[in-house]
């Protein structure tokens, strides 16, 4: 192991306490019905572009 350097990375998943999504203006509603708060951007439909909300 002498030739190796140890690197430890953390990937943190956290829910942001926002009322809308990061890359589109759709509402965030945890627990709501599926496919309710969607638009071409958050569905990644062909041609849609993310814009920082």
């Amino acid at each position: 192991m002498s030739g190796f350097e140890t690197v430890i990375g953390l990937e943190v998943h956290a829910h942001l306490a926002t009322r809308s999504k990061l890359f589109c203006a759709c509402a965030v509603g945890y627990g709501d019905a599926p496919n309710l708060h969607t638009c071409p951007v958050c569905l990644a439909l062909p041609g849609a572009l993310p814009v920082l909300n």
Binding site: L45, P46, G47
Partner: protein, 488 residues
């Protein structure tokens, strides 16, 4: 067969004078599209009923209110990678079979608001990857000037539709020359606006730092009118320029006195350029000089690296952009896969064509750990050098003039097995995408009975000067007025 349609400006005058109606123009466009379909294969879908309805609405408005724009009531066509609500947006790919867009691209919204009438979607290389419109799940589009030849690509369907007089105006996308090279091969004008001039919201992304939407038409005047309609800031595209729509049409002064046009030494002495193409472009330069422009030689030393740089950057970005096509939410999904991973793999294996797979593989490779610095980062550094070359050359000139392609339209099938040779068709066009500069191609002569295009590249933000030069050239020449004789 119905007669070919004139330019949008001619049709506008006829509409305003009461000599024709939008309904009649749309019927002619549809009839001509259908009559030429077996030979040209320019369209992948027509929207006949919707177009007839919109034409009737435009006719009902006329006389009661002023025209919404020069394009009000004019039939147009859109490349199959531009989203229109309620229409397929297939990018000539099997992987998007059955997909219908639920929303309009910003460009489509603006065209509709301006009264333009979309009659159909045009053929293209799959996901705009190609220079010949042969890499299409719908089969190749043919060049109206010679049905055995390619119309260029990837916007070959849009170019063929305009050259054959089916519509006066069509839109395409240009990532490395995909508007300009087909315009050159079919004897029409193609404008790639500067990066950010036209919103890309609703254009299916190929390489996001290079893609730009633009018009193809027979006259520079029509391209100017089209740009004025579709340009301007769009909050849904974070790369769109924070500027109002252009006013290029009113800048077409007819004279170009005092403008300096730079001739890049590297392009005109270019090895690999058909001598007849070089000669036609040089004659084009002299015509601009007669119109009052001054010519001077300039140098773009780093353009020799442009094709290599382009194919690193565009494949890297394509591999990322095309990751979204996984068969889960829309488009084609492989049947009876054993699990999720196999479903992804088989959907993509069956859905993408050879050229798209080649570019995804290349792009994934150049972005992979350990190779990123050697390829992608180095390509970005060359891109900065290219940008400096163009800035220095354009410090002493208003525009640069060079061939659009090193050749005229090549035979179908000649290069599909030789990707490197296909890529070299882009040698003169990719630099404007890498630097973000506006550029256009316009017809400047014929070689062996086939159209030759010359390319003008401008300063950032200055589409108006390119269109003014092209318009002045067209007032003095008739290359753009000649039409291919389509066999009945």
């Amino acid at each position: 067969m119905t007669e070919p349609l004139g330019t949008a400006a001619e049709l506008r005058r006829a509409l305003d004078a009461g000599e024709t109606t939008s309904a009649a123009l749309v019927e002619r466009a549809l009839a001509r599209a259908e009559a030429t379909a077996p030979r040209l294969n320019a369209f992948v879908g027509l929207r006949a009923e919707a177009a007839r309805r919109e034409a009737a609405e435009s006719d009902a408005r006329r006389g009661r209110e002023p025209a919404r724009s020069p394009l009000d009531g004019i039939p147009i066509a859109l490349k199959d990678n531009i989203a229109q609500a309620g229409e397929p947006c297939g990018c000539a790919s099997r992987i998007l079979a059955g997909y219908v867009s639920p929303y309009d691209a910003t460009l489509v919204e603006r065209l509709r608001a301006a009264g333009a009438i979309v009659v159909g979607r045009t053929n293209m290389d799959e996901f705009a990857m190609g220079s010949s419109t042969e890499h299409s799940c719908h089969g190749p589009t043919r060049n109206p000037w010679d049905l055995a030849r390619s119309p260029g690509g990837s916007s070959g369907g849009s170019a063929a539709a305009v050259a054959a007089g089916i519509v006066p105006l069509a839109f395409g996308s240009d990532t490395g020359g995909s508007i300009r090279q087909p315009a050159s091969f079919t004897g029409i004008v193609g404008l790639k606006p500067g990066y950010g001039r036209v919103s890309r919201y609703g254009l299916v992304a190929f390489a996001s730092s290079l893609d730009q939407l633009g018009p193809l038409a027979r006259s520079a005047e029509d391209c100017a009118a089209a740009l004025d309609v579709v340009s301007g800031r769009d909050p849904r595209d974070s790369t769109s320029l924070p500027e109002p729509p252009t006013r290029c049409r009113e800048a077409l002064a007819g004279d170009v006195a005092g403008l300096a046009v730079g001739l890049p030494r590297e392009a005109l002495a270019g090895a690999g350029c058909d001598p007849e193409v070089s000669r036609a472009v040089e004659e084009g330069a002299r015509e601009l000089e007669k119109a009052g422009a001054t010519l001077r030689e300039v140098s773009l030393p780093h353009t020799r690296y442009a094709v290599a740089t382009y194919y690193l950057i565009c494949t890297a970005e394509a591999s990322s952009n095309l990751a979204r096509f996984d068969g889960v939410r829309y488009g084609r999904r492989a049947e009876s896969a054993a699990g999720l991973t196999e479903m992804y793999e088989r959907s993509r294996s069956e859905g993408f064509g050879r050229e798209v797979k080649r570019r995804i593989l290349l792009g994934t490779y150049v972005l992979s750990a350990g190779y990123y610095d050697a390829y992608y980062r180095k390509a970005q550094r060359v891109r900065a050098l290219l940008r400096r070359d163009f800035e220095e050359a354009l410090a002493s000139c208003d525009a640069l003039l060079l061939p659009t392609a090193p050749e005229t339209a090549f035979p179908l099938g000649e290069r599909t097995a030789d990707p490197l040779r296909m890529y070299l068709s882009d040698v003169y066009t990719v630099s404007a995408n890498l630097t973000g500069a506006p550029a256009l191609s316009l017809p400047c002569g014929f070689a062996g009975g086939l159209p030759v295009g010359m390319q003008l590249v401008g300063r950032s933000g200055d589409e108006a000067t390119l269109l003014r030069l092209a318009d002045a050239f067209q007032r003095r020449t008739d290359y753009h007025l000649r039409r291919p004789e389509l066999p009945a």
